[in-house]
Symmetry: C2
Subunit: 248 residues, 2 copies
Amino acid sequence: MQVRQGKGEKNNKLRLVAQDDSCDKCATKRLCITQGLDAEQLGAFDRLSRTRGPFRPGERIFRMGDSFHSIYAVQSGAVKTEAVSDDGRTQVTGFYLPGEQFGVEGIGQAAIPCDAIALKNTWVCEIAFKPLEELCGRSPLLQHHLFSVLGEKICNSEYQFMMGRNMRAERRVARFLKCLVLRIRSLEGSEVRQFHLPMSKEDIANYLGVAPETLSRTLRKLDEEGMIRNEAKGFELLDIEAVNRIAG
Amino acid sequence: MQVRQGKGEKNNKLRLVAQDDSCDKCATKRLCITQGLDAEQLGAFDRLSRTRGPFRPGERIFRMGDSFHSIYAVQSGAVKTEAVSDDGRTQVTGFYLPGEQFGVEGIGQAAIPCDAIALKNTWVCEIAFKPLEELCGRSPLLQHHLFSVLGEKICNSEYQFMMGRNMRAERRVARFLKCLVLRIRSLEGSEVRQFHLPMSKEDIANYLGVAPETLSRTLRKLDEEGMIRNEAKGFELLDIEAVNRIAG
DNA sequence: TATTGGCATTGACCTCAATCAATTTTTTTT
DNA sequence: AAAAAAAATTGATTGAGGTCAATGCCAATA
């Protein structure tokens, strides 16, 4: 198992992950598709997956156009995916927090259609897809989990797509906050009120399809109305009911 | 094998499909995920799938909220999927032509997140998902095909999502036309220039996230510029290069 | 043939958010 | 700590496209 050690890395916890990256020890196993596998299958999964990191902020985990052979899960840190359209503009297509899978856009495609970029110091689990497919043939449960991940992704993409046009910037922002709150709380606990944003507001604006200026103004408005406390690299949730009301 | 026979149905071709709906005889088998299966597996697939129809225009094939147990493929006719958002607005999320799979949004979800509605007289192939999963365990090829369908769907959804915002109505419309031309030509031949639209322009506008009026104006503009000949229920393609140029 | 209803089209108007431009704030580098 | 770079904010302006309202066009039914 090879591990790249970033020059500035002095983090013991990260080194621990590198020393033993078995699923059994993984911090995000409760969120993983390996959920419920027996010891033999878990062993097989261990052999087709490996921990990689640390990726520094801005570092690419895979590139658009790479040939597809793995899917990924975030172990720690955070990741964004973005695609470059024909006219050179980049579009952020997703943000991924610990325990979430990414890179599935490449399945069945000739080439991966997006870049994956670390947003902070990040460790990921790389899961080789061909062996995973084989293992799925022997493990109905794993196969089912994998299908579920894909189905959810499709459902979510369509939902995003739906909120595409005909939706006020305010509503889009509120939905984004609502969704992020749910995801972070499922990781850190439902009482969390203070949210740190791993991604820049520029990225969020791009993801939501609004100008950074519009996002800024919208957040200020939500702040002035007392729903959130807007901060430089995060926000405090003051009135989730109000946010939900605007999110619709 | 049960077959519903619509009251007005006098179409012999359709009756033929009903009499023997084995995959072997299916008109769209060259586009199906069964591609390349051996006789034994094809037989198994036959037993977990069945032809259903005819659905009349406007008739629902499945409903939002139904519990998920099948995916579908269009055999003849055309289908749209649409979701109703919390605020009561409906959003068209996809159009499906013969040979294309739909209903995969429900995979791994508690409930199907959209309606599927026939756009004209339509026959579909209903594929029971649980048995399909099982069969995939025995057939790596089938499993691979199914993953590919899902991966493509994800990729496509994200692409749609991407083009949702920061994109001029003109470009969105051009992309839609370009995509439709490709799909119809893969069905009917690459020389086709005259395209009948199975869906209303209202549906198209909704799908693209623009007002029907905007779609109308945009099509008129493309018509005036000589790229297409805009018609009530279709269009003639005059200059595909120009359309591609605008589509980007 | 007249009538009804559903789309599609067209014009007038107005709103929201993109863009441009200028600071200010935060983060990184020296 | 100072300087430089990057990100975020704010204001002013503008334009794409949504909304409203009226009209035209078929196709289906009487």
